[in-house]
Amino acid sequence: MKTQERIPEDQLTRYVMGELPEAEQKALEAVMAKDPALAREVETLRGFCGLLWTELKKEPMPRLKPEQLASLRQDLEQGASSSPPRKSRKIWLAGIPLLAAAAAAFFLVKPQILSKSPGAHGDAEEVRFVASAPELPKDEKASAGKREAESVVGKEVVQEKKKLALAEVRRDQPTAASSPLKSGGPGKSMAGAVAQNRAPAGATGAAPYGALADSRSRRLIPKPEMKKSDHYAAEFDDAEANGADLGMNTEAYDAIVDNPFRATAQDPLSTFSVDVDTASYANVRRFLEGGQTPPKDAVRIEELLNYFRYDYKAPTDRPFGVEVEVGEAPWKPEHRLVRIGIKGKEGAFEARKDSNLVFLVDVSGSMNGPLRLPLVKQSLRMLVDKLDANDRIALVVYAGTSGLVLPSTSAREKATILDAIERLEAGGSTNGGEGIQLAYKTARQSFVKGGINRVVLASDGDFNVGISNQGDLVRLITKEAKDGIFLSVLGFGIGNLKDSTMEKLADKGNGNYAYIDSLAEAKKVLVEEAGGTLVTIAKDVKLQLEFNPEAVQAFRLIGYENRVLAHEDFNDDAKDAGDIGSGHTVTALYEVVPKGVAFTPRGVDAMKYQKPAAATGAHDGELVTVKLRYKEPEGSKSSLIEYAVKDKGRKLADATADYKFAASVAGFGMLLRDSEYKGAATWDQVMRLATEGAKDTPAALGPEQRAYREGFLELIKKARKAAPSP
């Protein structure tokens, strides 16, 4: 460990303000990780800056007078833009009669005005104005009681989370983040200080505007045209060069506790909401490609499974079909594995309904860096290319303040849209809440009835300023989703990814969450799967399984930990659940302990009064009944589909390629999570199954899917290297 050089105080201030270049930021975080006193000082400083935010928002914010506003609006309406070109400074007063008169008068009668000026803060008046000011602080006391919408509940977040909110813990105790992790902590590649890669943000900022803003024009950040491979090489080489143990990053993940085995005799039901997110796979891949094991909580097995497509038959009469395959659990051959596959109806993307999309792009300082804003821009460009005259696009940015960069515009005007995307630049702090409000407002204004109305958020998810009250945010998103405006979330960036926030937002907004770490990934999500990403074909899709106690002792749902529902929620149409997009597939695996296999349920005594129902033989051979509820995208009543499943005793060798591949992905996830249920799973076994699954990729899935599966083989190799045996 290097002896700690003195950190200049003002560097701490810069750090807290988010103004340090990424390299210095990482270096400082590394020092902080080893110096609790310094870390505490930074937290205190952060706290004080938070106080400044809150307190300074309390300063009265007088508005223009109504007649001033009216006159400005009228002026704008009358086509001010076609008025004569700029006037020279000397004569501007003459050029604007109304105001000139007012201004002249005010200079002339200065003494009078002065006499009433100093400190004449008409309090009552100010409060009145504050109440309707658009730039109100969204947090805490400043606005409490001034707008009914602001019935703020401070710690809502905690209640919202079903699981332990590890995210918050990590923020508060930076050093704790690395301890539960193997192999050098999570930060190694995070330290990928990408200084030389960052968009040259400072290059354009020097000249201040003149009084007349004469030389002013759009400031463009030269577009860093980088290839994906370059990003990788640069970021990760840098990581290695940057020394072994910058063991700290600020990524946040909610803790995941594996679903346990449940004894059928105690509770034969299992209920959960579908989840079509795939973000975890790309995120895990990013870690492994950097030579590290991902944090356990970043590995969500259902998202790994759903990253891949399986050859489920597409229904024609219903929104989706269900397929079930039962086979051997590779990691515990005496157990059975039930694979449930759901496939959304394939609607040609070209035949989609009219759409109204609002891109909400985080342009705060944290989005600087090649894998962030530039990648966002490239991703958006690709999506825009797919759209046509039936689509409308608006662009809202947010940083310290938010703004409408592009009002809703027909996708026919591609040049206008692409130009607006091109002009995005990063800088400033993040106030995600305000941006989201503006985005929803924009979406409402061009709402397409019966069409696709969606806000697409692109961010690293760091809602670090202003309305960071997740409870409020979640309520807003839930409400908008009920009104028909859905939210999709695209996660970008490394080192600061607020995975937990992002997933939650998409979840509440009837949307999906994808993590985009490369141009290839952007292409998968926004081009190949544009339908699934943007077109919802069924909402509130819930599954309930009833296991037959005559055949099953116990069962365990693999993954979907944060999607588990109460049994009674299944029939409750008021309970929100996941959505399925066009062509999406959802795969869920259950590990089942059949009757006659030695098994001790953990921590539960044998039932004293419950007797197994007499074997009636009525459902002989039935293993489980799968029930599925869904609503049409605009419906409010759910429909039910039911299937009874028999176990034909199929061996692993006879399983389909899809089955083997899915089992391999699950084994991979359990190994990475070092799950207590991993049984006899080994990297060799995972590799063998995946290889077979990839080799026999069903032709119907197309060459891309085969390529994705082959990519998984590479990932297993990396995982084997990075993670300890087996």
């Binding site: 106080l51 007088p62 604007i96 000026s117 004449a120 658009p134 201040p208 030389s215 002013r216």
Partner: protein
């Protein structure tokens, strides 16, 4: 610029309207602090928006720059007013120490003001301005530098000094807010 299609101009109008709704109040607050007078703050802000309506061609700020453009112009106009009233000795901007060497006149400490706001008023006006741009507008150092004409490192220095002083003052006031 004249070849702009009508739809582009329409979009521009929507942007300007949006900017007016979003920024008029923050701008009045900002200008009123510089001028120490709300009424004249309003006049300056009205003029600022008129400038925005009238600015054409290359001089037009792009969508993401409208905010800092407005603050810059607003500030310049406000300082014009002060200059005309001979209430301000003009110093070259960028020179931190020289500008506003004298501490701000201590205003009567209204009851109910939090210790933070009381302490803020003890800072030199320029420092107050920078602190407000940071914590009321959420501007980056770069934005603040653009608006005030200070260098970025100056902005960083001022903010650091100001936060330090504010912390000391608030702690002395009993730490409550």
């Amino acid at each position: 610029m004249d070849e702009k299609s009508p739809s582009v101009r329409f979009d521009r109008k929507a942007q300007l309207t949006e900017a007016l709704e979003r920024l008029e109040a923050p701008l009045v607050r900002y200008a009123a602090k510089i001028l120490k007078d709300e009424e004249r703050g309003r006049d300056v802000v009205q003029e600022t928006f008129l400038r925005l309506w009238r600015v054409t061609g290359e001089a037009q700020p792009g969508p993401s720059a409208i905010t800092s453009w407005l603050f810059t112009v607003c500030r310049n106009l406000a300082f014009d007013v002060l200059r005309k009233e001979h209430r301000m000795v003009v110093v070259s901007s960028g020179d931190v120490e020289a500008t506003f060497a004298a501490p701000a006149p201590v205003e009567s400490q209204e009851d109910g003001l939090s210790s933070v706001l009381v302490a803020l008023k003890m800072l030199p006006p320029q420092h107050q301005e920078v602190v407000r741009l940071k914590f009321q507008q959420g501007f980056s150092y770069r934005d603040i530098a653009r608006v005030t004409g200070l260098s970025e490192s100056n902005v960083g220095f001022i903010l650091h000094q100001s936060i330090k002083k504010l912390r000391t003052a608030v702690a002395a006031a009993g730490g409550e807010a």
